[in-house]
């Protein structure tokens, strides 16, 4: 009874408070006209941080900004200087007075606060319930550098950095076209991260743009710190181990994708851009393939695909053959194999898993350690563990070769994300091979095949262009045909305009 009463009164109180707030909200959100109450309102809302600067300019002006976010030189030269010289009467007048390109007038406190957080100076005139917002944000960014995770020999050496505006300007420098559409939204209720959706109007499919836009806007999350997390959230199937959107830090690759009718997403504070839709095979194509002669590019692509196949299946095949199917190994090869394994006390599965585990340890340690020590770790791993493991009789020589080969092969994937998948996917297959030999490997193979067939990237089939077969797109899949044969854009991104180039030969003498 008592409890009930208490609850009732509490809820009444709450509702009262709510109604109060409701009634006051517009008032609270408005900017107070009196200077003192305005300063107090800002200080309350920001919890009075130490870098909040409040500067009064007599007779009636107040400047509020956050010290670390604004460009001091612009502040001095273009705002303070002007304001001291010609004190202005109203916000409208001041707007015409200041020589700053990004000026706004607002009467909402929330507006003023959120723009102050991105590097805006709030100029308040005593007696007015409007403020001038002068955006003079300074952008602390790393200078442009070569993409570290996706290096290439021939081609541009510029990669994205962590600033969204720099990245957009980089893209604009590649594609000087008014059709390049950039849509900016904010994601992250608490971080207010800027996310830009980029696409080429007239090439990219509108339907796809709508889908992606809707996916991005429907994200309800506190914080987005990096684009990789965003990519996982807007994937078609975020439960799959295979990424369905490409993350790249290469500007040229990003622009290439846009020009092929793909959509790009840039996230402020992240040096990785998202490209989608992306088919499975495109994860293994490097941007550099376009820069090399087609024969060489085709060779490298075939090499890469066979490397991935080797990387996934070589160790399982070894395990399966040595555990169950001795018969398939020719006698001449069987003798050195069994000699090297003679002293090893473990079954092949365990031996392979152990070595794979060590390789993964080395790799993880190398990735976490500073670059200089990382190299040392490589030597320690390679020589000490490798040689010593064989001498101690824990593993066989041949397995070391096989494991090293498959580790090496997994590095050939141009996409780091896909490279990770390749190295992880090996473990279950090794275990299956250890238990059920070739049969287990085939089970894994069929499962992966079906799994890949099930996936889609932004609604387009993941196994394109092989299935559903688009024979024309095969020219730029496992091989890279000469440019004169690839005058059409790939159909997998459903481009509005699929003509890429005029198929007529450029050199008239040739024809």
């Amino acid at each position: 009874m008592f409890k009930n009463k208490f609850k009732l009164s509490l809820s009444k109180k709450q509702s009262k408070v709510e109604s109060d707030r409701d009634g006051n909200e517009p008032k609270e959100n408005m900017i107070p006209s009196a200077t003192n109450s305005f300063i107090q309102a800002i200080k309350d809302a920001t919890h009075n941080p130490s870098d909040l600067i409040v500067k009064s300019i007599p007779p009636n002006l107040t400047l509020i900004f956050i010290e670390n976010l604004v460009d001091e030189r612009t502040l001095n030269d273009h705002i303070l200087n002007d304001l001291y010289k010609k004190p202005s009467e109203s916000p409208e007048l001041m707007k015409s007075l200041l020589s700053i390109p990004l000026l706004n007038i607002s009467n909402l406190l929330d507006d003023a606060l959120s723009s102050m957080m991105t590097g805006t100076v709030i100029i308040h005139i005593d007696g007015y319930s409007q403020v001038v917002l002068a955006n003079i944000a300074t952008r602390e960014t790393r200078s442009l550098s070569a993409p570290e995770n996706e290096s290439q020999v021939i081609g541009s050496q510029v990669g994205f950095n962590e600033s969204l505006s720099t990245n957009v300007s980089l893209v604009r420098r590649y594609i000087m076209n008014p059709d390049l559409c950039i849509e900016k939204t904010k994601i992250g209720k608490r971080t207010n991260t800027s996310v830009s959706l980029l696409f080429m109007k007239g090439i990219a499919s509108e339907e796809m743009v709508n889908t992606l836009r809707q996916r991005i806007n429907s994200i309800d999350i506190d914080a987005i710190i990096d684009s990789a997390a965003l990519a996982e959230m807007i994937d078609d199937n975020s439960l799959s181990i295979f990424p369905q959107m490409l993350l790249t830090e290469r500007t040229d690759k990003f622009c290439d994708g846009l020009m092929n009718g793909k959509l790009g997403v840039l996230v402020d504070g992240s040096s990785m851009a998202i490209i989608c839709p992306q088919s499975f095979i495109e994860f293994f194509q490097s941007r550099e393939d376009q820069n090399l002669r087609w024969q060489i590019a085709s060779f490298l692509r075939i090499l890469r695909f066979s490397a991935i196949f080797l990387s996934v299946y070589l160790t399982p095949l070894y395990v399966a053959a040595l555990t169950f199917h001795y018969e398939v190994i020719p006698q001449a090869f069987l003798v050195p194999l069994s000699e090297s394994r003679a002293l090893v006390p473990f079954p092949p599965v365990f031996e392979a898993l152990l070595l794979e585990f060590i390789i993964e340890l080395l790799r993880e340690a190398g990735a976490r350690l500073p670059t200089k020590i990382g190299q040392t770790i490589g030597i320690v791993g390679g020589i000490v563990i490798g040689t010593a493991a064989v001498q101690a009789g824990i593993t066989s020589n041949i397995l070391i070769i096989i494991i090293a080969l498959s580790a090496l092969a997994s590095f050939t994937s141009p996409s780091y994300m896909m490279g990770n998948v390749i190295r992880i996917i090996r473990f279950p297959i090794i275990i299956l091979a250890g238990f059920w030999g070739f049969y287990g490997i085939m089970l894994a193979f069929c499962f992966i095949l079906i799994h890949l067939l099930r996936q889609s990237s932004l609604g387009t089939p993941y196994t394109a262009p092989f299935y559903p077969p688009r024979l024309k797109d095969w020219r730029d899949s496992i091989i890279r045909a000469p440019f004169s044969y690839t005058s059409k854009r790939p159909t997998s991104s459903r481009p509005v305009d699929d003509e890429k180039s005029n198929p007529e030969p450029v050199n008239p003498e040739k024809s």
Binding site: V328, G437, Y439, L453, Y467, P469
Partner: protein, 370 residues
């Protein structure tokens, strides 16, 4: 027209893919050892039998397509209901579902036996059956597009196996073909009939036809698929006849697999171990297409979700694969199933075509009178 299928464009496939569907549904477990049955009847003229049944399959498919064209977007189950009325039609549908299920079972059980006989003698059949069924369930629940995709990749990825038949040619002689036509015509026909179990599969067209986007190209690709199968079977029987000595073929249960054991590379011997395990990729689309065909029929009889159906179906098949164990039992099932399948696949389509055509004529006459 009764019960036309409502299909979204997402479910439809290109006619081009029918080549892979037809081819992959034909090639399955029968190819492992069909030579023995044909040789038993037609002796060294077995290759004529194979050629004959290949040609017959083309003719049957012409009738099938003609029947299906009468009902633009309906499958065999719908045609049954339309031609024979609800009760008889559904009874025939039931038989067809049973036929698809038996075909599924036969393929699965034969493959399991091959694995047991050649690779893992002690591996429990229940394990093989359960793993294969799980894979098939996964594929089946992904929908027709994925099933056709598996058929596509299965054909593409397994194509390299056939050129390996060059290896046995080293030990063969062409003299074993002569004299041609030593067997009488009856034994050759009998030999052709005993090919049924190996060559069936193209009847899947009856069910998949409404799902094809560009129907005008169906004929071309179906016939190409059939042709590819016939050529492969013909090549295998020719190599087998040339390689095996007289009478040896009659005693070899899995003659094709034995041919594979001749294949030898510098780094690999006993190639049949790889081929048999790799055959899983060829079996999976086979199984998927049959279970899918059975499901298409079942939903005409009872309202059932795909998930429920696949679980019930798999559990029943699973129990059967464990119960039926011995070589003689499996052999009996193959022979009996082959006999029944001959009538269902090779005789019944002509009958259905005649009945459907007659019915259409009658109804159009009626309409004219009215």
């Amino acid at each position: 027209m009764k019960n036309p299928l409502q299909l979204s464009p997402k479910d439809t496939i290109n006619a081009f893919l029918l080549f892979f569907v037809i081819h992959s549904s034909q090639v399955g477990v029968g190819i492992h050892g069909f030579q023995r049955f044909v040789y038993h009847d037609a002796k060294h003229d077995a290759w004529i039998s194979v050629l004959l049944i290949g040609i017959v399959s083309h003719i049957i498919v012409i009738f099938m397509i003609k029947t299906l064209e009468m009902y633009d977007s309906n499958d065999l189950y719908g045609i049954h209901q339309d031609v024979f009325g609800k009760w008889i039609g559904n009874f025939l549908n039931g038989i067809y579902i049973l036929y698809c299920s038996t075909a599924f079972f036969a393929v699965l059980r034969n493959y399991m036996e091959v694995i047991n006989a050649w690779v893992f003698p002690n591996l429990n059949p229940w394990f093989l059956s359960a793993t294969l069924l799980l894979i098939v369930m996964y594929a089946f629940l992904s929908g027709l597009r994925v099933i056709v995709g598996i058929a596509f990749f299965s054909v593409v990825f397994s194509f390299w196996l056939y050129p390996l038949l060059i290896f046995p040619l080293e030990f063969s002689s062409s003299s074993s073909f002569y004299p041609i036509l030593e067997s009488d015509i009856i034994s050759i026909l009998k030999g052709a009939q005993s090919m049924t179990f190996t060559i069936i599969g193209f009847e899947i067209l009856n069910v998949i036809y409404p799902f094809v986007k560009d129907k005008e190209n169906v004929k071309k690709h179906v016939h190409l698929g059939l042709l590819a199968t016939t050529v492969i079977y013909l090549a295998i029987i020719l190599v087998s006849l040339a390689y095996y000595s007289e009478g040896e073929l009659a005693r070899t249960i899995w003659a094709t697999l034995t041919l594979f054991s001749i294949v030898r590379f510098p780094f690999i011997e006993r190639f049949e171990f790889i081929a048999i395990n790799f055959w899983m990729l060829i079996i999976i689309p086979n199984l998927c297409l049959y279970i899918w065909a059975a499901y298409r029929g079942t939903i005409r009889l009872v309202k059932i979700s795909a998930k429920k159906f696949v679980w019930i179906f798999s559990i029943i098949i699973f129990i059967f694969t464990i119960v039926i164990q011995t070589r003689t039992q499996i052999n009996m099932i193959n022979t009996q199933f082959g006999k029944v399948a001959f009538y269902i696949v090779f005789v019944y389509p002509i009958f259905l075509y005649v009945v459907a055509a007659l019915k259409k004529k009658l109804t159009s006459q009626k309409e004219q009178k009215e």
